[in-house]
């Protein structure tokens, strides 16, 4: 009965049937997609949290001594994690560090690697965003009696994040694509799902073109969502 439904696909129908319908192989794609989205979302959240902390430390380093010292640690962190390929970082984590920590979950390893890696990029974005906020905002906050920290979190950071939203969105999109290497480390993500199908059907075309299309659609949707979100935040700038 599936054949009827596939009739309009013409010559492609056999390939589609073989790769996705037979033995419920489409579930590899569905499960993979869910894993890919979960890893990306959790990693970005971790990355943003790390990014905000690191960026605030860097900016506060100009006036708080302890932050100046911590700033060197942050510099080291961003240099290393932006300077070493994420594949190599993953190898070190997967084969070296995680077993040492006794962590066996390949999902946890994935969000650990991608979270820390994207944190290094996001922190630089947020720092630039903070520095782009007019200095008068800090002065106004301080003149009302807010501490430096409260001024940062109530007044400067919200504006900084709004400033860098496009950059953050791009980081999210880059990360979504980057997670495709997780499949080489025991995670069944979208890419790995396609590889499993290909290994069973010996078809190198249909599975890979399918996931390529899925990645592309995801990226386009995310870009659109980001635009909508940005417009909403800009509401305060409109006349």
């Amino acid at each position: 009965m599936n054949i009827n439904f596939l009739d309009f696909l013409g010559p492609m129908k056999d390939a589609i049937y073989l790769n996705f319908i037979k033995n419920d192989r489409y579930m590899y794609i569905v499960d993979g997609l869910i894993n890919t989205l979960e890893i990306t979302a959790v990693s970005v959240i971790i990355g943003v949290i790390i990014g905000i902390i690191c960026a605030v430390i860097k900016v506060a380093g100009k006036r708080v001594y302890i932050c100046k010292l911590l700033g060197y640690v942050v510099d080291l962190y961003t240099t290393i994690f932006r300077g070493v390929p994420v594949m190599v970082q993953y190898l070190i984590a997967f084969i070296g560090i995680m077993p040492l920590l006794g962590i066996r979950s390949s999902f946890v390893t994935a969000i650990f690697v991608f979270g820390i890696n994207s944190g290094a990029y996001i922190s630089e974005n947020i720092r630039a965003g903070i520095e782009a906020v007019d200095h008068g905002q800090e002065e106004a906050g301080r003149s009302l009696g807010f501490t430096y920290g409260k001024t940062m979190f109530l007044i400067i950071l919200p504006q900084a994040i709004k400033n860098i939203l496009p950059a953050l969105g791009n980081e999210f999109i880059a990360l979504l694509k980057e997670t495709s290497i997780a499949g080489y480390f025991a995670v069944i993500d979208l890419t790995k799902g396609a590889r499993i199908i290909q290994s069973q059907t010996y078809d190198g075309i249909v599975p890979y073109f399918t996931i390529a299309g899925i990645y592309l659609v995801l990226v386009v949707i995310l870009t659109q969502l980001l635009n909508i979100f940005e417009r909403r935040l800009k509401k305060s700038d409109r006349n």
């Binding site: 002065e139 003149s143 009302l144 009696g145 807010f146 501490t147 305060s236």
Partner: protein, 240 residues
């Protein structure tokens, strides 16, 4: 209320304030004038330590706030400041701009803070803008909101740093009017301005600063009609 003793401030090798002595009593409206680069804004910004003085002391309500142990955040709550460029928070509405500090710092309940904000907005004739974002306001409206934001903390003294310098000429009047009303209510004010009319009409004392020093200090009448210092005579001849 404020006593400034031998206040000095230098940026690197550039000495901007070279020993300022000044006493400001409760209820006074002290107007500071002087050419650009004279240090008048720096003096005002030193009063709430937005600029950290490099020498001398500032006694505010009996506390030496230049002392490292003084909690400047608490003292700043009693010193409202109004900036040349307004510095309203663009991501908050007018009401949120005004209620932010009272609710977060004085822990005043939100409803009470909003009520107070509305009262103050009514006074400056901007109640209809309560829900607006700053970007939709004109310069004069922004500055009136900025004044209200500072007043919402119920400060003991208000510092004005060239509050009308960034405004279109036709909006200067509305801001000055708010400041005049404030002075009438007995608010202690320190105003850095180029508005000689305001100095004459509202000031209780006018101070002339040049090259980091107070060169003349007098009642407005004497100050404008009978200036003593040659530098001030020269300055007034150019601006009046």
């Amino acid at each position: 209320m404020i006593e400034i003793n031998n206040l000095q401030k230098s940026f690197g090798k550039n000495n901007v304030l070279k020993g300022i002595d000044l006493k400001i009593e409760k209820g006074e409206v002290v107007v500071i004038i002087g050419p650009s680069g004279s240090g008048k804004s720096t003096l005002l910004r030193c009063l709430n330590l937005l600029e950290e003085p490099t020498g001398g002391e500032i006694i505010f309500e009996g506390t030496n706030i230049t002392d490292k142990k003084a909690n400047i955040n608490l003292h700043r709550q009693k010193m409202g400041m109004v900036f040349q460029h307004f510095n309203l928070f663009p991501h908050y509405t007018v009401t949120e701009n005004i209620t932010l500090a009272p609710t977060k710092l004085k822990k005043i309940p939100k409803e009470e803070a909003i009520e107070k904000a509305n009262e103050l907005l009514e006074k400056v004739d901007l109640l209809d803008k309560a829900a607006a974002y700053p970007s939709s306001l004109s310069g004069g409206q922004k500055q009136r909101v900025a004044i209200v934001r500072a007043l919402a903390m119920e400060p003991d003294v208000m510092l004005f740093d060239e509050p009308t310098s960034a405004l279109d000429p036709e909006m200067v009047g509305e801001v000055l009017q708010v400041m005049k009303d404030l002075a009438k209510e007995g608010m202690t004010m320190v105003v850095v301005t180029h508005e000689m009319g305001f100095a004459k009409e509202v000031g209780t004392r006018v101070i002339f600063i040049d090259e980091g020093k107070i060169l003349e200090e007098n009642s407005p009448k004497e100050f404008f009609e009978n200036p003593q210092n040659p530098r001030l005579q020269d300055f007034l001849s150019k601006v009046l």
